[in-house]
């Protein structure tokens, strides 16, 4: 049976099965968009926490670090409450759309990007601080320089964020609803198909998910390694 399921899974992949590829495409869209938004918000936030001293900074660092482990279903519940018809943002009509899934994943990924980039930027600042002061740079001027010079470390951070987003099932299930052709992504489809006993499709999706994550990580590792060697 399992051997058979594996064969069917492979044939689905090799025949470029339409429903399978729709699911894969939506998954990528949602997770990439979420990581992009989280990076635009999270990297400057992390750098700001590294650069400025303000009351409550220690608490903020602890909270950011703790939120890295935020259970996806809790994030899903929070976003669900926000977006449901009776919730504060209910008028948007966002619940059970890919947009809601993006929001839920941003909530999950943002703390990872902010907390890890804070660490990386702070390390770099330790090295650059005197030179920056000597150049008469303000803290807000240091921020873009530090973010750019930490770019290879931040690429790895970005990957960690993408890993979290693409592998997550609880939050997107709750706010997306796993609607066929609309909000069905790889993880929710695997849950559903496994429940239905349709192991070939579940396995096929599992293989695609794993391969994608592998490929993206390998690519980033290579880019990072090559440039690190070149830039020093």
């Amino acid at each position: 049976m399992e051997n058979n399921a594996f064969c069917v899974a492979l044939s689905l992949l090799l025949n470029l099965d339409a429903s399978l590829f729709q699911i894969v495409a939506l998954s990528l869209q949602v997770s990439l968009m979420a990581v992009l938004i989280a990076a635009v918000l999270g990297f400057p936030l992390g750098a700001a926490v590294a650069l400025w001293r303000f009351p409550g900074r220690g608490v903020m660092i602890v909270v950011l670090n703790a939120l890295m482990g935020l259970p996806p279903v809790v994030a899903g519940l929070a976003v669900y409450l926000l977006l449901s018809r009776a919730g504060p943002l209910g008028e948007w009509g966002f619940l059970f759309t890919p947009g809601a899934m993006v929001i839920a994943q941003v909530v999950l990924v943002l703390p990872i990007l902010a907390a890890l980039s804070r660490q990386k930027v702070e390390e770099l600042l330790g090295e650059y601080r005197e030179q920056f002061m000597s150049l008469g740079m303000s803290r807000s001027r240091m921020m873009p320089t530090l973010l750019w010079d930490a770019r290879f470390a931040l690429l790895t951070v970005l990957l960690a964020g993408f890993g979290r987003a693409s592998a997550e099932v609880g939050a997107v299930m709750m706010v997306g609803g796993n609607i066929d052709g609309v909000t069905r992504v790889m993880t929710t489809a695997i849950v559903l198909e496994t429940g239905k006993g349709n192991l070939p499709l579940a396995l096929g999706l599992g293989i695609v998910l794993l391969t994608l994550v592998m490929l993206i990580n390998a690519g980033a590792y290579l880019v990072g390694e090559l440039t690190r060697r070149r830039i020093g």
């Binding site: 002061m133 150049l135 320089t145």
Partner: protein
């Protein structure tokens, strides 16, 4: 002098370098007196070499003068009122993880030099310090000597009126030291006040106009170079020159 294009203030070379005065400057950390109180005035043509045994407070003095640290007591004052344009070159050059050219362009951008002129000024400086072949090389894979010259080129594009150098050659081989010393002379010829620490007596003899000798966080003497090397006034400096260990 050089025909090099001085970007920020064309008249920098025409004015005498600004005078630096320490008025009873002291620096304590966690109740421990690390420097001073010391008072002196740097108003000669220099270069001023700050000398003394390890732990005498040479680097600390430079950082206080440059404003990287604030004195616990006393004050650092400059002639002509305000703080002059200044730059510092560190023992370990701190270079950005970018090309040599981009390092200079960044320093110019930080100092609000118009975008259009940045690359040209940077390329001229690279040429001036013999780094043209490294223009697009990542700064951090350059050799130690090249890195230090790049740090000097970065200071050069900012046209500082005062240049601080903290043991800039202590990690370099003789050929690289020669390159760095030649670069320091270029700054001196341009009319920049040079304040440099070293514990290398030979280097001090080659470069010094006057010597500020520190020991145990105190200024023991501040004399013209020929006096310092031939007839040092303080006992500590006499011992230092004689090659003895100074406590």
């Amino acid at each position: 002098m050089t025909s090099f294009n001085v970007p920020l203030l064309a008249s920098a070379a025409l004015l005498p370098p600004p005078t630096l005065r320490f008025d009873g400057v002291a620096f304590n950390q966690q109740g421990k007196a690390l420097l001073g109180p010391c008072s002196f005035t740097l108003d000669g043509t220099g270069p001023t070499l700050v000398m003394g045994p390890n732990g005498a407070g040479k680097s600390l003095l430079l950082r206080l003068a440059h404003g990287l640290l604030s004195p616990t007591q006393g004050q650092v004052a400059w002639s002509r009122g305000g703080r002059p344009r200044q730059a510092m070159v560190f023992q370990q050059p701190v270079l950005l993880r970018r090309s040599a050219l981009a390092n200079l362009v960044h320093a110019l951008a930080v100092n609000n030099v118009p975008r259009k002129t940045r690359t040209q000024i940077a390329c001229e400086a690279l040429e001036h310090f013999g780094l043209t072949s490294c223009t697009n090389t990542p700064a951090r894979v350059l050799s130690g000597g090249e890195q230090q010259r790049l740090a000097l080129a970065r200071a050069w594009v900012l046209s500082p009126q005062v240049l601080f150098l903290d043991e800039p050659t202590s990690a370099l081989d003789p050929a690289a030291i020669k390159g760095v010393e030649a670069a320091v002379r270029k700054f001196h010829q341009r009319g920049t006040r040079i304040v440099m620490t070293t514990h290398d007596l030979h280097q001090a003899r080659r470069l010094a106009g006057d010597v500020l000798f520190l020991s145990g966080g105190k200024v023991c003497e501040h004399t013209p170079a020929d006096v310092f090397f031939n007839r040092p006034v303080s006992r500590e400096a006499q011992a230092f020159i004689a090659g003895e260990l100074v406590g």
